[in-house]
Symmetry: C2
Subunit: 255 residues, 2 copies
């Protein structure tokens, strides 16, 4: 069994309102990839957010008193903190340079997933622009999947990923923040192992594992390879949701 991850060529710099499905199809062509049913396209959050116009000019943000205080505490631009607060349900931890929040989308992450790199507004200057996460990444993934299905006849999975830090390990890893046509979790509870033992508790976050794999191929910086084509995903495609990947608050080992 083989899993093949392939970075797509010639993805241009994405701007508000760009049609991502068309861009993906063009790039697949340039990369000489012929889509097959059950292929998966993994997209960096950044290009989805940009196409949805989620860039914000910091010059237009008025920080509240709370954002100013939290900005001083964490040594962050209070306007950026204001946006983080607006994107979050709750602040969980603060440390110099980091605000750990429960994002409105439900997951725990640093700095509400707001990104300052590779962001340019609609004007000339990129000085003050930051990028929020897509409003509803599952919906974004679904929209792309349906549009590609309509245009090519192929049934794909689509996943949107970001890079997150971990509580107790160094470095970031790719994780899934939105998906359509890909299972989020595979429940191996109740399967039997090689000796006929019934496994008790193995719920595998296959979407996050695939996100990590794709993230490895995307790189983070100037390479600009924000889309990875995947062939050979070892489980049947099926409808997963972001919510399945999020530990319920009362089961959260962090809080």
């Amino acid at each position: 069994m083989s899993l093949i991850l392939h970075t797509l060529k010639n993805i241009p710099i994405i701007r508000r309102g760009d049609n991502l499905a068309d861009i993906l199809l063009k790039s697949l062509q340039d990369s000489k990839v012929e889509l097959q049913d059950d292929d998966i396209l993994v997209l960096a959050q950044k290009i989805v957010s940009k196409s949805e116009g989620r860039m914000v000019n910091l010059a237009n943000v008025q920080p509240t008193t709370r954002a100013i205080e939290l900005g001083e505490l964490t040594e962050k631009d209070p306007r950026l903190v204001e946006l983080m607060l607006g994107e979050s349900n709750e602040v969980l931890r603060t440390r110099k340079g980091v605000i750990v929040v429960e994002h409105k989308l439900g997951f725990v992450c640093a700095n509400a997933g707001i990104d300052h790199s590779n962001v340019m507004g609609d004007g000339d200057s990129n000085e003050d622009y930051v990028l929020l996460l897509p409003e509803d990444p599952d919906r974004s993934a679904k929209g792309l999947r349906e549009e590609i299905k309509q245009k090519t006849g192929k049934s794909l999975g689509v996943m949107i990923i970001d890079s997150h830090g971990r509580a107790w390990r160094n470095g970031t890893v790719g994780i899934c923040i939105g998906l359509s046509g890909v299972p989020a979790l595979v429940d191996e509870r109740g399967w039997q192992d090689l000796f006929g033992y019934t496994l008790k508790a193995t719920l595998v976050a296959v979407a996050d594992e695939l996100a990590a794999a794709a993230s490895l191929m995307m790189g983070q910086a100037a390479e600009g390879t924000p889309v990875v084509h995947v062939r050979g995903f070892p489980y049947p495609l099926g409808e997963g949701t972001l919510k399945e990947l999020i530990r319920p608050k009362d089961m959260d080992m962090f809080r």
Copy 2:
């Protein structure tokens, strides 16, 4: 750029003292994979632990008072808890069915990484055997890498992986617990993004990302595909260590 992960065929059930390097080379041959420099072999912890004889018969374990108490609290076999305590520096959290520890190897994990599935002792019965992690997984990886280099002339990377839960997300993902000839982290701090911005803080846990990818292909249960061959890792191979992947205690966001 392509990353190709391929599960190897015909890995037999591993027993204490088996020569893993020879088994891997035979399996590569059966799988028609010709090794190249810079390929990586990713091994499930389980087969490394077994070859190193890390199975323990619970019938021979005498629980201490502390293990009995903790066993009652978490509804776990006190003999299993005794082994978990012996494998750990510190108990960090307990919950019904879960003891979160700092393992002697330095990382935070559930149940000290002790595995009850696919384990068989050297005798007939597998009823009471559990499996501890390798004593020094970096050393195990290094030994395998050197033996393969000596037998084939090829310079590979070798990684040993396990499945861990996360603090705030559902499901397990593959993570690296030992490596040789593979970078643990890639420091992208100081790189410039597409617009010439200098990225501030992107330290990527590439070993964990690759572990997740390989884990996706291994499955957890009866499939028995505990080795994945990797071609096309997108960074230069170099010497990483498990220690680099572990967040220093004072930077741990969990404690």
